[in-house]
Every structure is written in structure tokens, then in C-alpha cells.
């Protein structure tokens, strides 16, 4: 049986945050939530690329995307033929 307690982001009892359980499952859920929050923070921090998007930069990034897509298609094809 999991115990319901009030806790903060480090799992310490506190009266201001939401209800959480201290079982293994609850801790994992809490950890996943923490990682998602951290990733969201990073995405927010770097949301505006600092590099000016000149035609050269745009072209390079587009070429890179096409290159990677082609590479992934080739690998998927290889995997498909191997499985068959």
C-alpha cells in the first residue's frame, strides 16, 4: 500500500506542493516528471537559435536534413531486406 504524503521535487515532505506517493512506482513517475520538466526548460532556454539564418546557414541545414533522411531510408531498406 502506498502512503499519500505532500512532498516537494526532492521527495521531502512539504505542505505547499501536490500529493505524491513514496512507493517505487511513485518515485519513478516523479523522476520522469522531473526529466520532462528539465527537458522543457532546456528547450525553452535554447528556443531562439542564436545563429543568424543567412542563406548559407539555411542551405546547409536543409542539405543536412535531406542527407539524414536519405541515410535513414537506406538503413530502413537494409533492415527490411534483412528481415525478409
Amino acid at each position: 500500500m502506498s502512503e499519500n504524503k505532500i512532498c516537494d521535487d526532492k521527495g521531502v515532505i512539504n505542505m505547499t506542493e501536490s500529493v505524491c506517493d513514496t512507493s517505487q512506482k511513485g518515485r519513478i513517475k516523479h523522476l520522469v516528471k522531473e526529466w520532462r520538466r528539465k527537458i522543457g526548460e532546456i528547450n525553452q532556454k535554447y528556443s531562439e537559435p542564436r545563429l543568424k539564418m543567412t542563406p548559407l546557414v539555411r542551405f546547409s541545414l536543409l542539405a543536412l536534413r535531406i542527407y539524414l533522411i536519405v541515410l535513414v531510408i537506406i538503413l530502413v531498406y537494409k533492415f527490411y531486406t534483412l528481415v525478409r
Partner: protein, 423 residues
């Protein structure tokens, strides 16, 4: 009067040399670690297959590696940021996560291949793989956990010096000097066959690896190098490039002298070459095996740190070797987890080790072009780099080399996936 001037020049030189020795490290370490277990296997196989024919090509790879790595020195010294953080900052989260996740996968798989090399090398001396893995994990932990970048660097430089073992090992077997001289002249005596092309691509693939860009830039930042240290950073990188091609050349000379026969000899790995040589010449065989272990160890040290630094930069954890484990817990936890994970995979019976070795090459080419393109774009940003941005000559050289590496490493990866492509 003249002797006073000489004395003054001498004192100035000694002062300069001391400063250089204090600042040297990241460039030499990254370049020597580039001759990792996979690299040594490639060089040993090249020597056994083609003799001295491609020594000129190996020497040519030194300047290529220098041009690419020198850019990371400038970028790190000017921005004070590691490569992962610089990509997030300049190109946004999409390319940032792509690079970080790809780097994590490539580094982990490469780490597995380093452990494969190390266990195979010590198996020649009768050391069971489990002892090798545990011993390496303890050694690597001790090197990193002492809490000082300077000490870590000097210990790693000792392991770099051990890489020179190929020089006496090659000299002791009296290689054919005239054949070596002929090998230094560019050309394709056996014609540009598919086999030749495959080996040339493999050698390029081992010369520039994605982790090297991340490692050297983070290392420059962790060492605290600034704009005024760039010249020493360049010299350090140039010394490393020279060191690495000399070691590679002597490794080729060794197997070319002892294993090569007209028509070429195929060898499976450097460990197999060491075992074959051990039968006729125990000293040289042992040297090859010790060199292979050392190469794997250096590769493992640098690769696991490259990932930990990159994760620390992006997630905002304390991420310096100057921090003690209690001050940077996540940095060290990530370092140990990757180390232990790779070690366990090598020890697990039935692990797809051959598949992992091939897969590394393929995954690496999904990251290498991106990392190189980002590097060139960052180095051309005046707002970021100021007067240290790429000059026209640096751009012409940089673009040509990056383009060549992208094309050849992609073809190499494709040839690994589709072996019939170059037959």
C-alpha cells in the same frame, strides 16, 4: 654583448617552452586517442593487406585531422562552451538534441568496441576478459576521481607516450627502408581497386570521429584556455597530429614487414595480428598487444568523458574534472554508468559484438557530417568568434576537407551495410 642577447633569447625560449608544456594536452590526447582499438586494427589490416603502399596516405591524414580539430580549439577558447552546448545555443533544440542523443549512442557503442579491443589484447597474455573489464573500470575511475584536471591530463599523457611502443617494435624487425621510402611517394601501385578504396575510406573513418570534436572543445574549456592561449592550442593540436600519424605509420610498417605477402593478407583484428606475430617474434607480438590495450584504454577514457561533458553542458550539471564526485554527482554517475554498461555488454555471453562494431561506423556518419557542418558555420559567425572567425584560406581548406570526409565516410558506412557495393 652578443652572449647576453643569446642568454636573453634562451631565457625567453625556456619561458615559452614551459608555458607550452603547461598548456599542451587536449590536442595531443585527442589525436593519440584517435588511434583507438578500431584505429589500430585498421592500420594493422592496411599493412598486412597492402604492405608499405599507403604510408603516404596515412601521413596526409595528419594535416586533415589538424585542420578540423584546430577549429574546436578556437571555438572552445573564444566561446568557453563545449561543442554540445554551442550547437544548442546556435542552432536550437532540434539540432541540439539530435547531436546529443546521436553522440550518446555513438560514444556508447564505440566504448563497447574499445572494451572488445582491450579484452582481446590482454587475452593474448592469458588475462580473462572479466578481470580486464573490472581492472579497466577501477583504473579509469581512479584517474578521473582524483579531482584535478591537471593531474588527469598528465596521467593520460603517460598512456599516450606508451602508444610510441610501435616505434621500437617496428625498428627491431629491421624493415626494408627502400620499400618504406617508395611507400612515401603518393600513388596506387596495385591500382585503384574496390579493396584499395575500402581501406582508404576506413583509414579516413578512423582519423576523424565525431567524439573528437566534442572532446577537444570541452577539454579546452575545462582546462580554462582563453583567446591568448589559442596559439599554444594550435601547436598542441599540430604536435598531436604529428604524433598520431607517426604511430599509425609505424603500426603499418610493423604488420607490413611481418605479415604482408604479395597479393595481400587479410587479418580480422589487431589482436589476431598480434597472436600471429607472437608465434615468430614474442617481443613484437607483445608490443602490438600492449599497444592495442593502451589504444583501447585511451579511447575509452576520452570517449566516456566526451559524453559526460556534453550531458553536463546541456543539462547544466557541474561537469569539470576539477570537481570532486560530491560536487558533480551527475557528471560522474553518467561517466560510470556508460563505463559499466559497456563493460557488461562485452562480458555478456552471446552479445552481438561484431554487429556493434559494424553499427558504430553507420551511426557515426549520421553525426559526423552534422557536427562538421555546425563547426564550419559556427567558425564563420563573426558575432560569436570576432577576430578569431575563419579566414578565406581556412574556409577553403575547411570546406574541402569537410566535404571530402562527409563523402568518403558515408561511402564507407554504406560499404559496411552493403558489402557487395565495392566488390
Amino acid at each position: 654583448m652578443e652572449s647576453a642577447s643569446y642568454y636573453y633569447k634562451y631565457r625567453r625560449f625556456i619561458k615559452w617552452l614551459r608555458l607550452y608544456l603547461a598548456l599542451a594536452g587536449p590536442g595531443i590526447i585527442v589525436m593519440v586517442a584517435d588511434n583507438d582499438a578500431g584505429g589500430i586494427t585498421t592500420y594493422a589490416a592496411t599493412g598486412a593487406k597492402f604492405g608499405f603502399h599507403f604510408l603516404w596516405f596515412i601521413l596526409l591524414l595528419g594535416p586533415v585531422a589538424y585542420v578540423v580539430q584546430e577549429m574546436t580549439v578556437r571555438l572552445g577558447a573564444v566561446t568557453k562552451r563545449g561543442h554540445a552546448e554551442a550547437i544548442f545555443d546556435a542552432f536550437g533544440p532540434f539540432w541540439g538534441w539530435f547531436s546529443l542523443i546521436d553522440l550518446g549512442i555513438v560514444d556508447f557503442l564505440t566504448l563497447v568496441t574499445e572494451f572488445i579491443g582491450m579484452t582481446a589484447a590482454l587475452k593474448i597474455f592469458g588475462v580473462p576478459p572479466v578481470i580486464t573489464v573490472i581492472g579497466v573500470a577501477i583504473l579509469m575511475s581512479a584517474i578521473v576521481m582524483q579531482g584535478r584536471y591537471w593531474t588527469w591530463e598528465k596521467i593520460v599523457l603517460v598512456f599516450c607516450a606508451l602508444n610510441l611502443i610501435y616505434i621500437p617494435a617496428a625498428l627491431i624487425i629491421h624493415p626494408d627502408v627502400s620499400a618504406i621510402t617508395k611507400g612515401l611517394i603518393p600513388g596506387f601501385p596495385t591500382g585503384l581497386t574496390n579493396d584499395v578504396f575500402f581501406f582508404l575510406m576506413a583509414n579516413i573513418g578512423t582519423t576523424i570521429a565525431p567524439w573528437m570534436l566534442f572532446f577537444q572543445q570541452s577539454s579546452v574549456v575545462d582546462k580554462g584556455m582563453t583567446e591568448k592561449d589559442i596559439l599554444f592550442g594550435k601547436l598542441d593540436t599540430a604536435s598531436g597530429a604529428l604524433f598520431t600519424v607517426i604511430v599509425a605509420a609505424f603500426c603499418i610498417i610493423l604488420t607490413a614487414t611481418l605479415l604482408y605477402k604479395p597479393g595481400g593478407v587479410d587479418i580480422e583484428s589487431a589482436a589476431a595480428a598480434a597472436s600471429a606475430i607472437m608465434v615468430h617474434n614474442p617481443f613484437v607480438g607483445s608490443a602490438l598487444a600492449i599497444g592495442l590495450f593502451d589504444a583501447g584504454l585511451l579511447g575509452a577514457i576520452c570517449i566516456s568523458l566526451a559524453s559526460s561533458w556534453a550531458m553536463g553542458e546541456v543539462f547544466g550539471w557541474a561537469h569539470s574534472i576539477n570537481n570532486k564526485p560530491s560536487e558533480a554527482p551527475m557528471f560522474y554517475v553518467f561517466y560510470f554508468l556508460s563505463l559499466i554498461g559497456a563493460g557488461i555488454i562485452v562480458l555478456l555471453p552471446g552479445s552481438p559484438l561484431v554487429l556493434i562494431t559494424l553499427f558504430v561506423q553507420v551511426i557515426a556518419v549520421t553525426l559526423l557530417p552534422a557536427a562538421l557542418v555546425f563547426l564550419i558555420l559556427l567558425l564563420n559567425n563573426e558575432e560569436l568568434m570576432g577576430k578569431y572567425k575563419n579566414t578565406l584560406v581556412q574556409n577553403i581548406l575547411g570546406f574541402s576537407i569537410v566535404l571530402m570526409i562527409i563523402i568518403l565516410s558515408t561511402l564507407y558506412a554504406l560499404s559496411v551495410v552493403f558489402p557487395e557495393m565495392f566488390k
